[in-house]
């Protein structure tokens, strides 16, 4: 269970994130939706203790992330390419992560078998270092790396971006399966409303650092979300028009 309490992050005068209270229970697939600059990555970085909160805290199972490192045994994340080690081959990267999460080489190999299809022959035994893979393939490596070793909580920032359509579908199935079978808690941010509504059972919309919507996913959710963002765009237009007329 992840608890966020009175969490805010301010750079100078700009408050980029301000969330009063948010609880993510175990086993939830939590979707974070918002435009660029809404604060999605900031929130994830705060959860991973990569940046310091201005006020408040994030705690995982009752332990504040900036006070103890025990959360590290439960959480795995893939945020961006700074989570990849460029000079390793993909296998070495998986072994490295796996060993740190208590796996051995054989169990990592066994684990990787299920992704044979997903990797499409371009990742394992490709004779390439991670730094030389295409963006999409790097993303696959990062996501699979985050899943190794049965972490309880998996944080993925924009996992669908840069992936080809087949991989997007495979990834959605994978998330659903892990969530159902192993009770993994997923935290997923995305720009893609359709993907997010499909896999997540709860969706939070953030806008300019504030939580504006908290929805338990239902058949209407996608339409609601699309409506919300359409309204945003229209009201933005309205603002421009009203500004122009006032001039």
């Amino acid at each position: 269970m992840i608890t966020i309490n009175n969490l805010s992050k301010t750079y100078g005068n700009a408050t980029v994130l301000n969330i009063e209270n948010l609880e993510i229970p175990k086993g939830e697939t939590f979707g974070l939706v918002g435009n660029n600059g809404a604060g999605k990555t900031t929130l994830f970085s705060l959860m991973l203790d990569l940046i310091q909160p201005t006020t408040g805290f994030v705690s995982i199972d009752g332990i504040k992330v900036n006070e103890s490192e025990t959360w590290k045994s439960k959480v795995a994340a893939f945020v961006d390419d700074t989570f990849l080690i460029g000079y390793l081959t993909p296998e070495e990267y998986f072994y490295f992560i796996g060993e740190l999460r208590g796996q051995n080489k054989a169990s990592v190999d066994e684990f990787l078998k299920q992704f044979h299809d997903l990797f499409n022959g371009e990742i394992v035994n490709s004779g390439k270092y991670v730094r030389d893979l295409s963006k999409g393939n790097q993303k696959k490596v990062g996501i699979v790396g985050a899943i190794i070793g049965n972490p309880e909580i998996i944080i993925l920032d924009e996992p669908f971006a840069n992936l080809d359509p087949s991989t997007q579908i495979k990834l959605k199935n994978l998330i659903k399966e892990l969530s159902k079978q192993s009770g993994v808690t997923f935290l997923i941010s995305s720009h893609d409303l359709a993907h997010t509504t499909e896999v997540c059972n709860r969706i939070v919309v953030v806008n300019k650092g504030l939580q504006v919507k908290d929805i338990q996913t239902n058949p209407e959710t996608l339409r609601d979300l699309e409506q919300y963002f359409a309204d945003q765009v229209n009201s933005g237009k309205q603002d421009v028009i009203s500004e122009e007329t006032s001039i």
Binding site: I51, K72, A76, T82, G86, E92, F96, G127, K128, Y129
Partner: protein, 488 residues
């Protein structure tokens, strides 16, 4: 068109590397360039007046005589340090700019690097002095033009042969052979050099030859680059075939073993770290400096050398400990490993290499056993004490390192920082003082033992020291992450 490009260059100079090279580094670099310019100008004056007044010889002749060595040094330096940057060119490929312009832009850009134009300060000053002192104006000018062209031409040679390591090695061997033959007076290399380079002054029309050579090489280079001006050819970063490998026995040691395994791969597969390996290897021979001056024969300096002989790798690697991991530091900070383990892995790696260096340094025993024992004591001190202090100073080093860029092997210096300078006291001065003083009063054995005891104390208290370092690293964690995030 070139004005536009120039504007971009200026912007990239002032806006790039925001954190990687902070303002202090920029100023430092600027001062460095300025002082090098001053050296070049000063050298021109010095050479001219020394040769003319003291030796009573023709300065132009003497300079021409040694020009071949300078030219070769320039070529080697450019090969090692200069790289034609292909990254910035990609956004222009699809814009409405003729390919010809882009290729020329890339070629001309290599002239803008300080390595290229700094030596011009020497040539111009020297030529002006010559003219003022009554040498022929036409001759001096043609000498200036010819030599400048011959030096700038090195850029083209570098472009043509960059990344062709076999040719570079062959040329290197050839240079070494010629140098050796010249040294033993088998080939009168400097006589040839004098004849050739002096001819540009003596018979100004020879300059046409230099101009022709320069233009010809430009043309060849232009065609070479133009032919490969595609994303999947000349503009592609060189890729190496990845090979999965693993030092299996290290896996027995859990997270520490995995980290060491990883670091070894890092050292082997990146350009910057390869430079570190070569550097540490060179440090082993640092003790041979003893033969250069008596200054090094005092016990203080012996200790000083010993610290570097056995700890070259430790100093080069340890101070950059978080920096080397800068491109994936967020991963390291979220992995299921306590900070202490991460640091301990680095500590073990450094100490293993130091221990190996102590063994390798055994060859100093051929020179004298006393020397080796000094180095041995220094090695113990490095393992026991310095390994921790070096890691400590690493916590203050927030320079981002792009592991695979050759251009920056030298450019990426440690960020200068008062605290890491203060740490030099226990690292260098303390063992030097203890060793020197106890040797003076109690003799060699006591001196070695006292250093060894210091090392042992450090080793025994390592857990305590580690806790302090971990605290330090933790309090620097967020600002380090922030500094590593900004892209150059």
């Amino acid at each position: 068109m070139f004005v536009q490009f120039l504007k971009l260059e200026i912007k990239s100079f002032f806006r790039g590397t925001s954190v990687g090279i902070n303002l202090a580094m920029k100023i430092f670099r600027f001062i460095g360039i300025l002082s090098f310019i001053a050296y070049c100008i000063g050298a021109a004056f010095l050479v001219f007046y020394y040769v003319e007044k003291k030796m009573g010889e023709d300065a132009m002749k003497i300079v021409s005589r040694f020009m071949i060595a300078l030219w070769a040094a320039d070529l080697i330096l450019k090969y090692l340090m200069q790289q034609m940057s292909t990254q910035n060119i990609k956004p222009f490929l699809t814009l409405n700019i003729p390919k010809k312009t882009l290729v020329n832009y890339m070629l001309i850009k290599t002239f803008l690097s300080p390595f290229s134009w700094m030596n011009s300060f020497f040539f111009v000053t020297f030529a002006v002095i010559c003219i003022f002192n009554g040498l022929e104006i036409l001759g001096s000018l043609s000498w200036l033009i010819a030599l400048s062209l011959l030096f700038y031409l090195n850029n083209f040679i570098n472009i043509l042969f960059n990344n062709k390591e076999n040719i570079a090695i062959a040329v290197g061997i050839l240079f070494a052979a010629i140098g050796g033959l010249a040294y033993y007076d088998i080939i009168p290399l400097f006589d040839y050099s004098e004849k050739i380079f002096y001819a540009f002054y003596d018979q100004p029309y020879f300059t046409l030859l230099a101009i022709g050579l320069f233009a010809g090489l430009w043309w060849i280079c232009f065609n070479h680059v133009k032919k490969e001006f595609y994303l999947d050819q000349g503009l592609e970063d060189k890729k190496t075939i990845g090979k999965t490998e693993n030092i299996a026995f290290l896996n027995k040691y859990g997270a520490i073993g995995s980290f060491i395994n990883n670091d070894i791969k890092m050292m082997r597969r990146n350009k910057v770290t390869k430079g570190i390996i070569i550097g540490s290897f060179m440090f082993i021979f640092y003790g041979l400096l003893m033969f250069s001056s008596d200054v090094y024969k005092t016990p203080y300096m012996m200790m000083f050398m010993g610290l570097f002989v056995t700890g070259g790798f430790q100093f080069l690697f340890g101070q950059r400990v978080p920096s080397f991991d800068s491109s994936y530091y967020p991963l390291m900070m979220t992995l299921n490993v306590p900070y202490k383990e991460y640091l301990k892995a680095k500590w073990w790696l450094m100490n293993i290499v130091t221990a190996v260096s102590i063994v390798v340094a055994l060859f100093y025993a051929i020179i004298s056993w006393e020397m080796y024992f000094t180095f041995f004591a220094a090695g113990l001190y490095n393992i026991g004490v310095n390994s921790q202090f070096t890691l400590w100073s690493g916590a203050f080093n927030k320079t981002q390192i792009d592991l695979n860029s050759k251009e920056k092997v030298m450019g990426q210096k440690n960020s200068f920082n008062l605290k890491s300078l203060l740490l030099l006291i226990p690292k260098m001065l303390l063992p030097m003082a203890v060793f020197g003083i106890s040797k003076y009063f109690f003799g060699m054995t006591a001196a070695v033992i006292s250093i060894a005891v210091l090392g042992l104390i450090g080793f025994l208290f390592r857990e305590k020291i580690f806790d302090t370092i971990v605290k330090q690293y933790k309090s620097e964690k967020y600002s380090t992450l922030e500094a590593f995030k900004s892209k150059n």
